[in-house]
Symmetry: C2
Subunit: 149 residues, 2 copies
């Protein structure tokens, strides 16, 4: 990262707190050997794991089960040129443990239009990186494009 | 994609028009064999290529030069549960042609705090996929998590 680049590193807990304030993030994975990214609604588990709810057999479930994925959230106010971004990187897996599925069906993300069969996907919070963008026109643009750690 | 899943596929031109309305997107690439994602400000070139401006020698420039990347933009109103997302997937490269660099320095994205040496990164619009989310609480959540094409 460049010095004086207008970003403040966020601690893990602070990053997760910010992440919990937005309803939708973007899951980043590999599909057919190509980079893929999909906006999804999510919740955070008690340990900071990212929880998604999707249809059993969906292409997303197949693509990310037992793969390392990144999950990105951000909230950038272009007018104020301020905001934050948080990325959780870790192993994703379809939740198969019956007790865990039962718990998540009570506490996990809600599907507003449930599919016939649904599964939960859990992304372990192996690495949580976050930055707050310190507002200011003179820093915003280049930082977003050059932060390099 | 599931039938009646609340999404409307966007044509390429419509997708690019929507993309051009937001200042920041997310570049998706591979770094140290891990999925990586970074919010960046951007502009679109005449042909729909995504243009980024970053510091020469930045980790981003190294990571994406001559790699296939995805560039995601979205605008989702969680309150209305409506919005859109567009992903451009294609080969990224640092622009080296002097005439092209000169053109982009006039017409490309602006760094509000220029680094000492800057480069432009161009992402070819090989594949442009976009969806408009048709609002409605009963469709929003699961669709974002289950769209599978």
């Amino acid at each position: 990262m460049y010095p004086h680049d207008g970003f403040r590193e966020l601690g893990r807990q602070e990053a997760l707190r910010l992440m919990a304030t937005v309803p939708v993030g973007r899951i980043v994975y590999t599909r057919r050997a190509m980079p893929a990214v999909l906006p999804v609604n999510f919740t955070l588990d008690r340990d900071g794991a990212v929880l998604l709810r999707t249809a059993a057999g969906s292409a997303l479930a197949h693509a990310v089960d037992r793969a390392v994925v990144a999950f990105e959230t951000d909230d950038v106010d272009a007018a104020r040129q301020a905001g934050w971004s948080v990325v959780v990187t870790g192993a994703a897996a379809v939740v198969t443990d019956p007790a865990e599925r039962e718990r998540l069906s009570r506490t996990g993300p809600v599907s507003w239009a449930p599919a016939r069969r649904e599964v939960f996907i859990r992304i372990e919070p192996g690495l949580v990186t976050g930055r707050e963008l310190v507002g200011g026109r003179t820093l915003y643009g280049v930082d977003l494009a050059t932060v390099d750690d």
